[in-house]
């Protein structure tokens, strides 16, 4: 058994003490000291990555996602600035609506993927990744230059708590006066949550499941109080606290991109298969020219889903080969899928290997393990009436 070591002095969220108290295994994630999983602890009878993953698919789980960042753009030209710096078309957003989008470099590659929330008439909130925070804020400030629009970095103003799973709305409904049945997926509202007025409540998440994310003040007492209230409200539903381990396997089953893996500063939107969020006809925006050019010329690699044919677990970074053993690409994310009960991987390969059913191999510790291309997402949540 080989063991890994931890990095020194990472940042802490306001819920750090609670994670440790709940017995979480902590890891350094992009410079943040975060829970990776919560094994059974005290009165909690089940736990660990697989139990957490299944709790979210079948009922509900709670995540601390306070490491995510937030940038607010507001002012007369806020929309124009958002349109220039993101790839999706924000002009269609109604107040209270959100969309998946991305900040792009001129090359059509990713600064970061973001969720754009329209908070008000001329008021937008970009939710960004933890590992790209500083780069993103600098980029957004530069992109917003020349627009009559204020840029505020609010990352340290929110404890962001995700309540995910089909029973997520039932748990949160016990704690808020906002009528959650009126909030559609990728919409947001404001309401009193645990006595905190005007709390931002968004029906978003990163689990390929229904769920909510709430934004509460970052002081430790308030953050802990809200967390514990959600945990208590979720008890009747078998709610589990969930770490980054389950967050990763949940998003992978849903084939949701992770920065530094499926998307990065060297991968374009077209290669990443995110064209449905790319609105080339909305007018000029950063990255558009390069993407139009690439669209005309064709892409040299594309993201595919892989499933094992032979035994073995394809993981992040493993080499993908053709059946003759020649290297054709690499796995960006790979793991056992706890709900699907099979091993799934996302990988970049040349387009000629992307047809469904194509057989390729993944090199696992010197052995070629046969895999085949399958549709993504690997998991799609069933339609529900709420």
């Amino acid at each position: 058994m080989s063991s890994s070591t931890e990095v020194a002095t990472p940042r802490k969220t306001a819920l750090n003490r609670i994670h440790r108290e709940m017995g979480a295994k902590m890891v350094d994630f992009n410079g943040w000291d975060m829970p990776v999983e919560y094994p059974p602890f005290g009165a909690r009878k089940s736990g660990g990555l697989v139990a957490e993953h299944l709790a979210v698919r079948n009922s509900v789980g709670i995540f601390d996602v306070s490491h995510m960042g937030d940038i607010r753009l507001h002012g007369p030209q806020a929309l124009a600035a958002v349109q220039k710096m993101t790839m999706n078309d924000a002009s269609h957003l109604e107040i209270g609506q959100a969309q998946y989008s991305a900040l792009l470099y001129p090359a059509g590659t990713f600064v970061d993927d973001v969720i754009v929330h329209r908070l008000g008439e001329r008021d937008y909130l970009l939710v960004i990744n933890a590992g790209t925070r500083e780069k993103d804020i600098a980029w957004v400030r530069q992109e917003a230059k020349g627009f009559d629009c204020a840029v505020e970095h609010l990352s340290d103003d929110f404890t962001q708590i995700a309540i995910q799973g089909p029973n997520g709305w039932r748990v949160l409904q016990k704690l808020t006066d906002a009528d959650l049945t009126k909030v559609k997926f990728y919409w947001l509202t404001r309401g009193t949550v645990c006595g905190l007025p005007n709390t931002l409540i968004a029906r978003t998440g990163y689990t390929a499941e229904d769920g909510f994310e709430i934004y509460v003040p970052t002081d430790q007492a308030t953050s802990e109080r809200v967390w514990m209230a959600v945990v208590a409200a979720g008890e009747e539903f078998g709610l589990l606290p969930c770490g980054l381990g389950a967050r990763n396997t949940l998003r992978l089953e849903g084939a949701l991109s992770l920065y530094g893996h499926e998307i990065s500063g060297t991968i374009t939107v077209l290669e990443a298969g995110l064209s449905r969020f790319l609105k080339l006809d909305k007018g000029d925006f950063t990255g558009r020219d390069a993407l139009l050019k690439q669209q005309a010329e064709g892409i040299k690699r594309t993201l595919v889903g892989l499933e094992n044919v032979d035994r073995g677990i394809p993981r992040d970074g493993y080499t993908v080969t053709d059946l003759g053993g020649a290297s054709i690409g690499n796995v960006t994310s790979g793991s056992p899928g706890p709900f699907l009960k099979k091993n799934v991987a996302l990988a970049y390969v040349p387009p000629k290997f992307a047809a469904l059913g194509t057989e390729v191999a993944v090199e696992i510790r010197g052995t070629m393990v046969k895999c085949k291309v399958v549709p993504i997402p690997f998991y799609k949540r069933p339609k529900r009436s709420t």
Binding site: M1, S2, P39, L49, I313, P338
Partner: protein, 128 residues
């Protein structure tokens, strides 16, 4: 979880249970806990020669791959197919879940391994 006093241990978190000339090898309860949910175990074939300190197989949890290192040298006489079929049994009972049995090449090699008390101390120190 107590570490069985009759076993010997490595600093890489394997245990060795010697009965006569045969040794059973598994991973410790501490190891299974730090790995999390175990989903895949890869073991050598019967007849394989294991060398002390060298990798003889891998154990994978959902999130990590970890190699297993043989506590002593010897020839594999049995492989626990129950564990390769249901790897979660390692989480349930790590000290009962033997991976391989070997015929010891040199029983004196085991003297270099840790006692249960020393291993427990080692684990406590490692967690600091």
């Amino acid at each position: 979880m107590a570490f069985p006093a009759a076993y010997k241990y490595t600093k890489t978190h394997e245990w060795l249970n010697i009965e006569g000339k045969t040794g059973s090898i598994g991973i410790t309860d501490h190891a299974q806990k730090s790995l999390g949910d175990i989903v895949f175990v890869e073991l050598p074939k019967v007849g394989a020669e294991l060398e002390a300190g060298k990798s003889f197989g891998t154990v994978e949890s959902v999130k990590a791959v970890s190699e297993m290192f043989s506590p002593v040298s010897g020839t594999v006489t049995a492989v626990n197919s129950d564990i390769t079929a249901t790897p979660e049994k390692v989480n349930a009972d790590a000290h009962g879940a033997w991976m391989v049995k070997i015929t010891l090449k040199d029983p004196a090699e085991a003297n270099k391994l840790l006692s249960a008390a020393d291993y427990e101390k080692f684990v406590a120190e490692e967690q600091h």
